[in-house]
């Protein structure tokens, strides 16, 4: 147990370290943040002073080491714009993102799992075609376009919902639909495939042979087996959902991490961008770690040694 946990944990740490390194070099090598930050006609002495202040005058390897050491201390640096603690800024915004993400995940599961299951069970019938057509529409729809269409219809034409902002449940409706549509659609498609796959397994036939009711077969045999790939899928999906959240938050002015990212990118606020990237990387890696552990809990056959790469 310990060995497996340690191996997985080490791998996760290495991944995060890799991401940190990548973020550091890509951002640091991409030009002098000061040039972008300070007025173009700033005197050279001023530039030099800030350079020393932020340690930008040291050799790159030293900067990198200092950066890593600071990270290890939990010090993510300060915003180059207003001098506030970068991690604090990000955490301040995390609540809104979690609220949106949590709603979307719950919605996606509530819609995607039943829809996919019904489609698989009624394979080839009208309900299957209907569900899967809806799913493919949701899956192909660009979320920023969907967001705009929703605003056009509900905020501008019907004046039912606020077009942007944060705070009330009404504010949550359109962002959640925008982000949730694609996730639910993908989940429905994936659940359908998994359930179909399980339905074709010999043990399902065995269960029918025992004269259990159809419902019992589905609940006791089909679901537990189909859940295994679906959980992996959800772990994978988190990373993609974050990308979608960045878009959605910006379309609806939702004050989450995604909006912070885009604003900081526009302001060239290095420390904040780095911090956002790290926070996202850590959440995705932890989600995948959690999925790996959930595997062991739900699947007694679970294999060790990078089994999830084997696919």
């Amino acid at each position: 147990m310990l060995r497996f946990l340690l191996v997985r944990l080490l791998r996760a740490l290495l991944t995060v370290l890799g991401c940190a390194t990548l973020a550091f070099f890509v951002l640091r090598l991409s030009g002098d943040p000061l040039v972008a930050l300070l007025p173009t006609d700033s005197p050279a002495e001023l530039l030099e002073r800030y350079r020393v202040l932020w340690g930008l005058d040291r050799p790159l390897p030293e900067q990198y080491l200092r950066y890593l050491l600071a990270l290890a201390r939990g010090d993510f640096g300060r915003s180059l714009v207003d001098g506030r603690d970068a991690l604090g800024l990000v955490i301040e915004r995390a609540g809104a993102t979690l609220q949106l993400g949590g709603t979307v995940f719950a919605l996606a599961i509530l819609i995607g799992v039943p829809a996919g299951t019904v489609a698989a069970l009624r394979r080839g019938r009208p309900s299957d075609y209907l569900t899967m057509s809806a799913a493919i529409f949701g899956y192909a729809m660009p979320n920023f376009f969907l967001g705009l269409l929703l605003i056009l219809l509900f905020a501008m034409q019907l004046r039912l919902l606020p077009s942007s902002g944060y705070g009330t449940p009404a504010h949550l409706v359109m962002p959640a639909i925008t982000l949730g549509t694609a996730v639910a659609a993908k989940l429905a498609r994936f659940v359908r495939t998994s359930v179909l796959d399980v339905l074709g397994q010999p043990y399902v036939r065995t269960a029918h042979g025992k004269r259990l009711g159809s419902l019992a077969v589905i609940v006791r045999h089909v679901f537990p087996n189909a859940a295994i790939p679906v959980i992996t899928f959800l772990g994978f999906e988190l990373g993609l959902m974050i990308g979608g959240a960045v878009v959605t938050e910006n379309v609806f002015g939702w004050p989450g991490i995604g909006q912070l990212l885009v604003v900081s990118v526009a302001r060239r606020d290095l420390a904040v961008v780095q911090t956002v990237v790290m926070v996202i990387a850590v959440s995705v890696v932890s989600a995948n770690l959690a999925v790996d552990l959930a595997y062991g809990w739900i699947d007694p056959r679970v294999r060790v040694a990078g089994g999830r790469h084997a696919g």
Partner: protein, 326 residues
């Protein structure tokens, strides 16, 4: 055309079948464009071991699945009547008849990988049993199929057991429904010979103690020789010969039966060359007109190409579907 059904039971040299525990008349299974099982009649007496033997693609597995009502989607089935234990069973795919239980070829694949074997057995017990009794019953069944330490085995998962042990679990599961008829579809094909011998042993022991009839599907004539009371030889969806086992081996009448018996390598009498049947089983869509065995047959007559023989049980030595039997 003579009605083949009455000839199917009782076969003259077999132990007299008073009232069959399972009887099916004119069973056909259609798959795609052709009939994978074509007008099959079958009856089993209580305690009888009936072997259904044939090569792959002859429809023997589908026969079992059709009886169980577990045909794969896309296969259609029709029969003139199914009687179980004297009662007619109005039968429909997706609804396995009571009194029937099946054992499958690949035991490990036929068990749910994420449920303990004990719970899978308990699930098959009659639904009115209280929970505590279910567990006791399941453990008793695990012991009955010869596994040690049933309490511990109850909580084991299929992947923790060997293929032979899983087949024992599958047998326990089949017994849990207190079947009158056990259908066994190549239950030992995937197993090693030593394990096969034990599973056969167990099946016969179980049959003795429960009095159930056993329909045993196999391609291995050696197994047939060892366990069968009566044998039905299938070719291309139809039964071509049916006889008590001793009669069948001593004097096979259908050329196909003879070919099968001769091509079986024997441990006690090695020959320089094995006899073999030329050609191979035709695909469902490519079956010849008339007798389906004609292209591979060395005794074919002109008539064989024109009309298909039906199973004729009027002779003294079992039933055969051939115009030129030996």
């Amino acid at each position: 055309m003579p009605d083949a059904a009455p000839a199917a039971f009782p076969a003259p040299a077999a132990p007299a079948v008073v009232s069959p525990v399972l009887a099916v008349r004119d069973l056909s299974v259609a798959v795609g464009e052709g009939l994978a099982v074509d007008g099959l009649d079958l009856s089993l007496a209580a305690g009888e071991t009936h072997c259904l033997v044939g090569e792959s693609g002859c429809g023997k597995s589908l026969t079992c699945l059709a009886l169980m009502g577990l045909l794969p989607a896309g296969a259609r089935c029709r029969s003139a009547g199914l009687t179980i234990d004297g009662r007619d069973w109005a039968y429909r795919q997706g609804r396995p008849p009571p009194g029937l239980a099946m054992i499958y070829q690949d035991a490990t694949a036929s068990l749910d990988p994420v449920m303990t074997v004990g719970r899978q057995i308990a699930e098959a017990l009659p639904p009115d049993l209280p929970a505590r009794a279910r567990r006791r019953e399941a453990e008793a069944l695990i012991a009955q199929v010869g596994l040690s330490n049933p309490r511990a085995r109850f909580g084991a998962y299929p992947h923790e057991l060997s293929g032979g042990m899983n087949q024992r679990i599958a047998i326990a599961m089949a017994l849990a429904g207190r079947p009158r008829v056990l259908l066994a579809d190549e239950p030992t094909t995937a197993l090693d010979v030593t394990v096969q011998a034990q599973i056969l042993d167990l099946l016969l022991a179980v049959q003795n103690s429960t009095g159930a009839a056993l329909l045993f599907v196999t391609h291995d004539l050696g197994v047939v020789a060892q366990i069968a009371d009566r044998v039905s030889v299938m070719y291309c969806g139809s039964i071509v010969e049916r006889a008590p086992v001793a009669t069948l081996f001593a004097a096979p009448r259908h050329p196909y039966t003879r070919g099968l018996i001769d091509s079986l390598p024997q441990i006690s009498r090695p020959a320089a060359r094995l006899a073999s049947i030329p050609g191979r089983v035709p695909a469902i869509g490519a079956r010849p007109p008339g007798c389906r065995f004609r292209p591979r047959c060395d005794r074919a007559l002109a008539r064989c190409g024109r009309e298909a023989p039906v199973l004729d049980g009027t002779g003294p030595r079992g039933a055969v579907a051939c115009f030129n039997p030996t």
